[in-house]
Structure formats: C-alpha cells, structure tokens
Symmetry: C2
Amino acid sequence: MPSTTFFNLPAAKREKLLRAARAEFGRTAYADVPVSRIIQAAGIPRGSFYMYFADKQDLFAYLLEDFGRQLEERISRLLDGRRGDLFAAFLDLYDEMARERERGEVQELMDIFRCNRQLSPGVFVRQEGKDSRMERLAGRIDQSLLDLRRAEDLENLFHLLVTVTAGALMAAGCSGDPAGARRRLVQMFHILERGAASRAAAPASG
Amino acid sequence: MPSTTFFNLPAAKREKLLRAARAEFGRTAYADVPVSRIIQAAGIPRGSFYMYFADKQDLFAYLLEDFGRQLEERISRLLDGRRGDLFAAFLDLYDEMARERERGEVQELMDIFRCNRQLSPGVFVRQEGKDSRMERLAGRIDQSLLDLRRAEDLENLFHLLVTVTAGALMAAGCSGDPAGARRRLVQMFHILERGAASRAAAPASG
DNA sequence: TAAGATACACGACAGATTGTCATATGGGGG
DNA sequence: CCCCCATATGACAATCTGTCGTGTATCTTA
C-alpha cells in the first residue's frame, strides 16, 4: 500500500505520477518497466518514489486496486440502470468500456491488459477480501432473475462474469477484433445463463 | 522459444536445468527470481543460459507450455476413462492433481501457481493458437452429453472449464483449504452445467 | 522572531542483475 | 595434422534497485 505521504500529495502531482505509471505499464510488460522510466515520465526524483511506494510491485498493485474500485462503481451504476439484471449489466459494462476504448478513454487500462496478458482478470475479484465488494453489490442484484441454489452461488457467478468479461476486453484489445470478442462474450453469457449440459444427461459432478 | 542447442543437450542436463527453474519459480514470484539463482541451482554458467534461452521470460514461457502439454495429455486420458464426459473428466483432473499435490508430486506446479497468483490460468488455453489443442481433444468428447448451440460453444466451454479448474487448483494451493476449493469447484461446475438464469426469466443478452 | 521539530524532497551511491562478447574447448571431416 | 563449426565459459559494461545523508519548507512553542 502507498504511504500516507503519497495520499497527502497535491492531487495534481499524485495524478501525474499515476498517469505516468499507467502509461508506462501500458507500453511494456511489468517486468520490463524500470522504476527509472516511471519517475522520469512523472518528473519526480528517485528518492520520492520510494517515499511513496515500497517498490514497483506496490505501485502496480495500487493501480489494479484502483481499477477494481472503478469497476465496482461502474457495475453498481449499470446494475441500477438495468433494474438489477446481472447479465445485462455486465454486457453493458463490456459495451461501455469497449466504446470508451475506441474513443481512447480507458485506453490505458486496455493497454495494461495487452502488455500484461499473463495477468489474471481474477486480480480484480480477489482484491481486498472480495467479500466487502460482493456484499455492497449483492443488494443491487435482482436475484429473482437468477437460479441460485447455494449461498455462495452469487459470488461464484460474479467471479465467472468478471473473468469472462475482462477476458473479452483483453481479447478485444489484443486481437483488434472487437466485434468477434463481443460475439464470443455473448456466447459465454449464454452458457452461463442456460448451462452447457444436455437436459437429458445427469450431472456428473455430484 | 528455447534454442535448438537447448534441445540437443543431454537429457539429464536439460532436465536438471528445468527442475531448478521450476523450483526457483515456485519459491518466489517470477520478478524476484534472478537468472543468477537459476543457473546457480542448475550448476551451469551464465553464458550457457543465454545460449539456451533468449531471457528469463523465454524460459518461463517454455515451462508454462510444458505444463500445458502435460495438461492436455492428462485431460485426454481422463476423457477416455470417463467415456467423453467433459465435466467428469475435469473434476477427475482436479482430484488427480490435488491428490498428487498432497503427495508432493506436482508440488512444483502448485508452488508456481502460489508464487505467481497474478498468472492467468488462461495462459494454458491461450498458448500455441489453442485451436490445435482443442481439435485434438474434441474427438474424445461425447457431445451428446452437452447442449451446444454454436460451433464455438465447445471451445468456449473448454475455456471456462480450464479457467475454473486451474483457479480451484490455485485456490487449493494458496488457501490451504483443499476441501473448500473442491466444493467451490463443484458449485462452479453446477453453474456451467445448469446455467444461472432463472428458468422463468428471459435471457438479457440476445 | 528564534529555535526546534517534523515532514518531505532530492540525488549520489553501493550492491545486485542483465545480456553480451571474446576466448577456450572439443570433435568430425578433409 | 589442420580447419571448421558448435558449444562452453566467465569477465565486463550497462543498467537497475533500494537506501541514506543532506537540503528545504512548514509548523510549534516560547
């Protein structure tokens, strides 16, 4: 976690540093971004960087957390707009981000995805115990639209949706075929909605 | 990709290097494993390492590819044992690997998972175009057990299963609660089999 | 206002890491 | 016996990391 000093920084300076970091991580893979380049881009001395963050990893983790928070807000808003329909909200999320991507707005996030493909989308779910985030969203989800049999099912489903949606966004960013990525995402949603087991067959996993 | 020189190496030396690398990546996160430590553990000089691999990333990517191949073989075998039941085979895969993990056999792989949590399980699917791997397995899958509506659905489902199963293995390795991880995996499979949408509700993503 | 304390800014530096390269070695072919 | 090619090896320059001693600004207290 960044130091309090970092949070006490004037917003402009703080944002400049974060923006520089996002830009650099979006240009090359994490391992190939030296701290030196970030601080050069941000125009701060080396000592200051290590005053704000324990190390590069600390900064990167904070960036991801930040995206996670953004994501929660978006989903929250989209859920409200869809009267709690979880699947519809996630498809909206994809469309919204894909659109912004084309306009270059969330370009940074997409670039980071592209440059760090080995990153698990799960990092967004896994952060900060994941429970608090889930709890806050659960109230906005219309569960009558869902067929949830166990207490954990909502959490499981949410995890799947995040993974699949983030995967589609990555694919859109990497392959340069946004239409194809969206088509695949919708197919994935169909599987998640209706299930992939033939109705006649008995479930194998008991 | 490793150089031909690497593949021409006497098997013992090659294996020793790979084993050393796996052990080191299982001890600390990728970024924190200097090439120096690997070559020291493997007992080869620095120059040789760079004769075999372009860099650390090249080695790591090869290790993952290798695991991917192992995985394909396992799934192939387990599918045959389950008469093509995809879900059953994947649950077998989980059980087999979890069991071996407890006996310390695939420990290295699990350790690498634990130490590199940000790794996407998708790396296994995404490797080498993914298509060839899928094609080879498709013939062993009994599709009458599945409700596949589109040509790509098998591929999509497979992707989901790999992601979810690998995620469970990671969770088992990280949390130290293998029983819980298995329970969650089974729940995930139920969602994938039966779907999460209430039967009454109309699907939102059309 | 002076003195002292506190927080932050800065960049030089020691230690470690990376990838390269000149040189050494070894065996098969002429 | 010599040449050629593939491989082996570790010294080396360039680079990166995290730390630390030294400035500077602001706030406290008298």
